[in-house]
Every structure is written in structure tokens, then in C-alpha cells.
């Protein structure tokens, strides 16, 4: 995984609540056996019409947001299925940060594993950033993971929480499996004890 670098730029506003993973990447694109290339179909049914032409007023089709690296979203972003194709598609499109009042659990976890930082903020703060996002190129939002801050265009800084282990992995581009393999002895000894106490498993 690539290391997470600080991000600064325009943010795409997506105020709709409950944006689900079926919207982020519809199921017809889950038939791939690869991780790459899904950005082309990110938000496919909202972004393109039946003939595959761009729908002009969809936010990521507007000139200001075509290269957005941040999304400011309505409540409960990423609900629905466990498909990691959702963060793959977002990352492939170029999204590195998503801000919302809440995220669905599996999507939240999946994001970190793909170099995307989901940031949870209180309603009022999301509202400030949403307003900025709506101003297109006239506004910039900056994210500093090391210091756990996100700044609105006028310089107002909001602190955000992030699990220390997840932060560490994101900042250093670490692969979970490699890290867990270092603890293989704990797993071995757990398994041994467990085999005795629950032999039917």
C-alpha cells in the first residue's frame, strides 16, 4: 500500500445521506477478478445515463470536481454490502479522504486498507466543510493525518479521531498481514490451547 500523504484541494460535496455501496459501485462491476480499474465506474448509475454519457449535474462530472481527492458526504456513508470494490473504485478515481458524520462499519475498515482516510466529524463541522465544498474551486480543504486535523478554507481547524494502529498503517503504507505474521507465535499457542478446550471446532 502507498503511504498516505497530506491532502489539500477542492472537495466534492455529496450531501445525500445513506450513500450505499451499490451506488458507489453497482454490482455489474463486481465481476472483475482484479482490484484495479474500477474508478471508471465509480458512482456509475449516478454519473452516466443509459447510453454511457456523463450526466452533467452529477458532482464528479462538474469541471471543478473532476479531480477531487476529498468527498464531504451526508450521514452514514458506505452502508450496505461489504464489497471492497467500493474503496477500490474511490481510490482508483483519486479519492483519498471522505468526511461524514458517520460511516458504515465494514466500509470504514475497508477504506483504511486501501489508503483512504475516512474522517468522522460532528454535524456542525461537516456542515462548514460541506459549505466549502459547494464553493468548488473557490475553496480548499486541507487534511493532515499526522496531526489529525482538517482545515476549512478560512483556516478553521477541526481535530478528528483515528485509531492509532490504523493511523500508523496508513502513514507508513503497512500491510496488515505482514504485521500479523510477526505475531504468529501468539496465534500458534492460542490454537494449541483452543484445540484442547474446544476440540469440536
Amino acid at each position: 500500500m502507498e503511504k498516505f500523504e497530506n491532502v489539500s484541494g477542492v472537495a466534492a460535496p455529496m450531501p445525500l445521506i445513506n450513500i450505499d455501496t451499490d451506488m458507489i459501485i453497482p454490482k455489474q462491476f463486481l465481476k472483475t477478478i482484479k482490484r484495479s480499474g474500477l474508478g471508471a465506474n465509480l458512482f456509475d448509475e449516478m454519473r452516466f445515463d443509459d447510453n454511457g454519457n456523463e450526466i452533467e449535474d452529477f458532482v464528479l462530472n462538474k469541471p471543478a470536481y473532476r479531480k477531487a481527492e476529498i468527498i464531504v458526504a451526508g450521514d452514514n456513508f458506505g452502508c450496505g454490502s461489504s464489497r471492497e470494490h467500493a474503496p477500490w473504485a474511490l481510490r482508483d478515481f483519486g479519492i483519498k479522504v471522505i468526511v461524514s458524520t458517520s460511516f458504515a462499519d465494514i466500509f470504514y475498515n475497508n477504506s483504511f486498507k486501501n489508503g483512504i482516510l475516512p474522517i468522522v466529524l460532528p454535524k456542525e463541522q461537516v456542515a462548514v466543510l460541506m459549505e466549502d465544498a459547494e464553493r468548488g474551486e473557490n475553496a480548499r480543504i486541507s487534511v493532515d493525518l499526522e496531526n489529525q486535523t482538517i482545515s476549512a478554507t478560512d483556516g478553521t481547524e477541526f481535530k478528528f479521531e483515528v485509531d492509532s494502529f490504523k493511523k500508523h498503517c496508513l502513514l507508513n503504507g503497512l500491510d496488515d498481514i505482514g504485521l500479523t505474521m510477526q505475531k504468529v507465535q501468539s496465534i500458534d499457542s492460542f490454537e494449541e490451547k483452543y484445540k484442547k478446550s474446544a476440540p469440536w471446532v
Partner: protein
């Protein structure tokens, strides 16, 4: 004496293989279920890194999402991408030596139906799968939840998952259900109450008399949709109903192992005075046969209600409701029981078990579906299908005008050819009514199997209490 624990606390504590100072744990996984859509990239990752599957004997794979459900599927899958995914699973199962139920096997079906049916899912276990409806297995008092593909790879390689503990939430359904009300109505009513984010950060334990009175099939229906309420998992403490269901299944413990397991399972309940961070109580008598009207599972109302108005809501929900009513082609104030239906889908991991088919067949016996109605039954597994044929249910469906299909996910998510056309309106026993879920532009109303069957006959959403 140690502090009182919830059922979730107990299962969690029994599976922590390593705990770091910040509370990040390696949770040992007892059963890993795998299907064709979320696993190819994980197996590819193993190959690239030169890693194997740590516990192939605890890993079970079955293709379900992509497979056609027409009987001619024995001749192969037409859609090239679907075929490649299923073939990739065939190969990965073989290469890595994991248990496998290929399309040609009568035991094939939806992964969350096959696991319990074969006795893979047992009380007190940790169960994961690259699929959000893994929550289903919580019905056995197993800690079961969906994971992403990176985590699938992590479990394949290490048989553990990196986790932090969730909070405890209790959902109690007191008293008994009224006639015509089912497990599906319970679970939809709970989501209507909590919202789709109400369970975020929690593991829910469902309890109370109405839950105890459910069969295993009904309990699986309830836990299946815990994820729709945002919870990491749903749990129901095991009892005699659970043990009776499990006993004798192909992979259930036998002999001395069974006795040892039973002794261990006796401790799988929430201690008196254990702490819950959130509690919701609903009276079973107050639950009505329910349907969804919008494009989120929280958009649920009793069948005798009317389509709501966006102005009935607050905050971001006002716009979301306006958008979903436009998408669904509904007008505020319209009676739900006046909504005309084009298609009926009975199946999915929510309601594709034998009891669901029995409930639907009981409604359909001696009746015909409305002219022009498209109706299909997709059993949750080949064994459910066989049993339904043996019990004469299949014939009831066929005589009524339903298509009688092979097992798979089918129109629940429409990755196979079973899809809705734009604006086609479907009464579905599945679990998600998202925009485009059953086909681009398709309109989904979620309901119980009996209500779906009644809708097929009348041609509109129907109050099962008034149907005869």
C-alpha cells in the same frame, strides 16, 4: 467473581489470540465462508506473497452471487465474466484445499444458507465471510460478520482478524407476535425504529419472548438484517431450538465431541446484570406486517399505512425521501396496499429457507398469480429445493404460475440474468431496496414471504391479515 458478561463479551473473550496495548486484538476465526465475488483478489494476494491458507479445514467455499438459477446452468454459464469468477473459485478451492460445494453439487446454495445447513455454523463460534449478510449466522449464538476482501486475505493467511471490540446493544421483543406477523416483520420494524445507522459500532443481541418463540429459520431472518441496521453483528443466545437444529448435521460434532460442545454451549447466555450500552424494547404485539416504501431498509411502515411526505422528516432525510419517492414513482398519501406490483421474488439469504417456502406456499395453495405477473421462487440451497419438492411445495408454486428455480442469490442483487427492468416494481423477500439493487431503475418493496405470495395473487401490496 468476575464481572457479569454479555453473550458477545463471552464469545469475544474466548477468541482473543493477541491483544495490543491500545486494545487492538487478533480475533481467532473458527469458520471462514468464501464466495466467488469477494475472494478472487484475496487468493491472488496470497499467491503473489507466496502464502498459503492457514486453516483450510475451517474454510468453506460456495459460488452463489453470480450463478444462473435456470436449470440449463448445468451446461455452463453464458456470461463470460461470471463464468471466470466461478471458475476462479473452482480453481482456488482446489489449489488451496478448502471445502467446496460447486454449482453441480446438490448442496450448493447461498453461502449463509449452506453454512448452517451443513452444520458448519455452531454456537459460540466466530464466523466471517466477505459478505455483509454473514450476520445471519448470529442466530446460532455465533459472532458472525462481514469483512472486506483485504480481510478475507488476512483470515486466509492467518486465521485471525484485526479487530477492536464493539459496544453491546440489546434489542428485546417482548410478548408474542400476532397472526400474520413474521421474523421478517420483526427485523424490518427494528430497523425502522433505529435507522440504518442506529446499530453502527454495536453488536446487537436480540432477546425476549417473541425471539425465543422463533424457529431457527426465523432467527436467521432476524439476524440477517442486523447489518441493515448498521450493527457489526446480531446475536441470539442458543437454546434447545438451536441444539435441535444443529444436532446430526454433517459437520456438527458427534459422540463425545457433542457432549463436550453441549457442556460448553450451556454457558452461552448474557449474565444477569451485564451491561448494555444501548437498549431497545419493542412489544411483539405492536409489530404489524410491514413493507418498505423507499430506497433504504429504514423506509419501512406497516402495510396499512400510507406513503409518507418528505416534510414528515428532518435534516438530510427530507431530500433523501424526496429522491426516493421520485425513484420509486410514489406519491405521498397513497395507500401502501394500493401499490401495484409487476414482479414477485421469493428467495435470498433472508427468506430462502424451507420455512419461508412453506409460508409462501400456504398462501398460494389452490390460487393463481395475477395475469401478467412475473413471479419466481429461488430456493436458498439445492437441499431446500429438494425438500420443497418432496413436500409438494414446488408443485404449489408451479401450479400458481411461479417459476421454480435453482439455488443462488439471483434477483436479490441481480448479478446473474435475473434483473428488473427500469421502473419494474418488485415485491421481494430479500434485504435491500437500494436504488438499482435488483436492476437499474428497478423498484423494490421488501416484505415477508407470505406477503410476497399474497402480492403475486392480488397484483398489489397486500395486507396478509385480510387475504384469504
Amino acid at each position: 467473581m468476575s464481572a457479569p458478561k454479555t453473550l458477545y463479551d463471552k464469545i469475544w473473550d474466548a477468541h482473543v489470540a493477541h491483544e495490543a496495548d491500545d486494545g487492538t486484538c487478533l480475533l481467532y476465526i473458527d469458520r471462514h465462508l468464501v464466495h466467488e465475488v469477494t475472494s478472487p483478489q484475496a487468493f491472488e494476494g496470497l499467491r503473489i506473497a507466496g502464502r498459503g491458507v492457514r486453516a483450510p479445514e475451517k474454510t468453506i467455499a460456495v459460488p452463489d452471487h453470480n450463478v444462473p438459477t435456470t436449470t440449463d446452468r448445468v451446461n455452463g454459464i453464458d456470461n463470460e465474466e461470471s463464468r471466470i469468477q466461478v471458475e476462479a473459485l473452482d480453481k482456488n478451492a482446489k489449489d488451496f484445499g478448502i471445502h467446496y460445494y460447486p454449482v453441480s453439487d446438490v448442496r450448493q446454495g447461498i453461502v449463509h444458507i449452506v453454512g448452517p445447513e451443513q452444520g458448519w455454523t455452531l454456537p459460540g463460534m466466530t464466523v466471517v465471510c466477505g459478505d455483509s449478510h454473514t450476520a445471519t449466522h448470529g442466530a446460532f449464538g455465533a459472532l458472525a460478520h462481514g469483512i472486506g476482501t483485504s480481510e478475507v486475505e488476512h483470515v486466509l493467511a492467518t486465521q485471525t482478524l484485526i479487530q477492536k471490540k464493539s459496544k453491546n446493544m440489546k434489542v428485546e421483543i417482548t410478548g408474542s407476535l400476532r397472526p400474520g406477523v413474521t421474523a421478517k416483520d420483526i427485523t424490518m420494524t427494528v430497523i425502522g425504529e433505529t435507522g440504518t445507522a442506529g446499530g453502527t459500532g454495536y453488536v446487537i443481541e436480540y432477546c425476549g419472548q417473541a425471539i425465543r418463540e422463533l424457529s431457527m429459520e426465523g432467527r436467521m431472518t432476524v439476524c440477517n438484517m442486523a447489518i441493515e441496521g448498521g450493527a457489526r453483528a446480531g446475536l441470539i443466545a442458543p437454546d434447545q431450538t438451536t441444539f435441535d437444529y444443529v444436532k446430526g448435521r454433517p459437520h456438527a460434532p458427534k459422540g463425545a465431541d457433542w457432549d463436550a460442545a453441549m457442556a460448553n454451549w450451556a454457558d452461552l447466555y448474557t449474565d444477569e446484570d451485564a451491561h448494555f450500552d444501548k437498549v431497545i424494547t419493542i412489544a411483539g404485539e405492536d409489530i404489524a406486517p410491514s413493507v418498505t416504501w423507499g430506497t433504504s431498509p429504514e423506509d419501512v411502515l406497516p402495510i396499512d399505512a400510507v406513503v409518507p411526505n418528505p416534510s414528515d422528516f428532518e435534516g438530510g432525510k427530507v431530500d433523501a425521501v424526496a429522491r426516493s419517492l421520485a425513484y420509486m414513482g410514489l406519491t405521498p398519501g397513497q395507500k401502501l396496499s394500493d401499490i401495484a406490483i409487476d414482479t414477485v421474488f421469493i428467495g435470498s439469504c433472508t427468506n430462502g429457507r424451507i420455512e419461508d417456502l412453506r409460508a409462501a406456499a400456504a398462501v398460494l395453495k389452490g390460487k393463481k398469480i395475477k395475469d401478467g405477473m412475473r413471479a419466481m421462487v429461488v430456493p436458498g440451497s439445492g437441499l431446500v429445493r429438494a425438500q420443497a419438492e418432496e413436500e409438494g411445495l414446488a408443485q404449489i408454486f408451479i401450479d400458481a404460475g411461479f417459476e421454480w428455480r435453482m439455488a443462488g442469490c439471483s434477483m436479490c442483487l441481480a448479478m446473474n440474468p435475473d434483473q428488473l427492468a427500469p421502473e419494474e416494481r418488485c415485491a421481494a423477500t430479500s434485504n435491500r431496496n437500494f436504488e438499482g439493487r435488483q436492476g437499474r431503475g428497478g423498484r423494490t418493496h421488501l416484505l415477508s414471504p407470505a406477503m410476497a405470495a399474497a402480492a403475486a395473487v392480488t397484483g398489489k401490496l397486500t395486507d396478509i391479515r385480510e387475504f384469504n
